[in-house]
Symmetry: C2
Subunit: 148 residues, 2 copies
Amino acid sequence: MSEQFYSEILREHGLKATVTRLRILELLSESKVAMSHSEISDCFDNEKIDKVTLYRTLNAFVECGIAHKVANEDRNWLYAIFDKDIKPNGTEGSEHKHEHAHFICSACDKIYCFPVVEEMKFNKLKDLMGFKIDQHEIRLHGTCPVCQ
Amino acid sequence: MSEQFYSEILREHGLKATVTRLRILELLSESKVAMSHSEISDCFDNEKIDKVTLYRTLNAFVECGIAHKVANEDRNWLYAIFDKDIKPNGTEGSEHKHEHAHFICSACDKIYCFPVVEEMKFNKLKDLMGFKIDQHEIRLHGTCPVCQ
DNA sequence: AAACTACTTGCAACTGAATTGCATTAATCG
DNA sequence: CGATTAATGCAATTCAGTTGCAAGTAGTTT
């Protein structure tokens, strides 16, 4: 995708299109998996990005709705661009940005985002002994195609 | 429960029954919710427990199978004794210690442990586009009875 | 195109959870 | 009751993430 394309995304979300943000947005947009602060940082070996700027950029992406964050097994935040979910056969990308499952590979520890498919919905479950359930989060553990 | 009772649990799991461990085990056993290091620490205002000892005790409980840990929304570890899960109507306590769901109250941020009930099982979901699924974790978000 | 201004960046210093090393102390077993 | 092995307590350290502030820059105004 062109720089123009990413610039527009940033501006549409109320963020100034700075060089640093464009580079981070492009990197995340092209990644198949959610990435941590340090992983992102390592991708900019040559032209170092300040760690605070990176933290603030990632938080800005999350706050404006460009990205979402998910904690990995080490409880560090991983960041992923919305609407990049892997689409299994016959599944339309969910309209609801927050409705997606996360797949954590036990071998490589990478996290992949999935839309919530029919099998993952348990509609009956609205109330459990007085606990009112609004939404649920699914974390799938297993082996990703790369590690099999 | 008596000190004898807790001492036995510790020894059965290969841990020496020290005063500190007994107090922590008793506290956790009587708690309806999973507790963080700092919450536990705060419960021992008078007779302070060393923070490192507390960390090591909690890890020992997890490693020997007395307790399990779950990350809260702030990504701090919360600890809970196994087999204290809330039992909804007609549910038998799960035999599999690791099969339980967590309910996170959006109001008070407390985490309650539940056994996995039938509605939460999606057996069909074993493979998703080449991602082999071994197990899944469910985090339910809503309002607990206390906060309603 | 220069000036403006509000947002963004970079640096240093800080916070808070959790860990490590090591000397001291206590629980268990013979 | 000792001996042995594990547990404790303290200081120092690590690491992710945050805060405050001065300097820089994008997007807008004139």
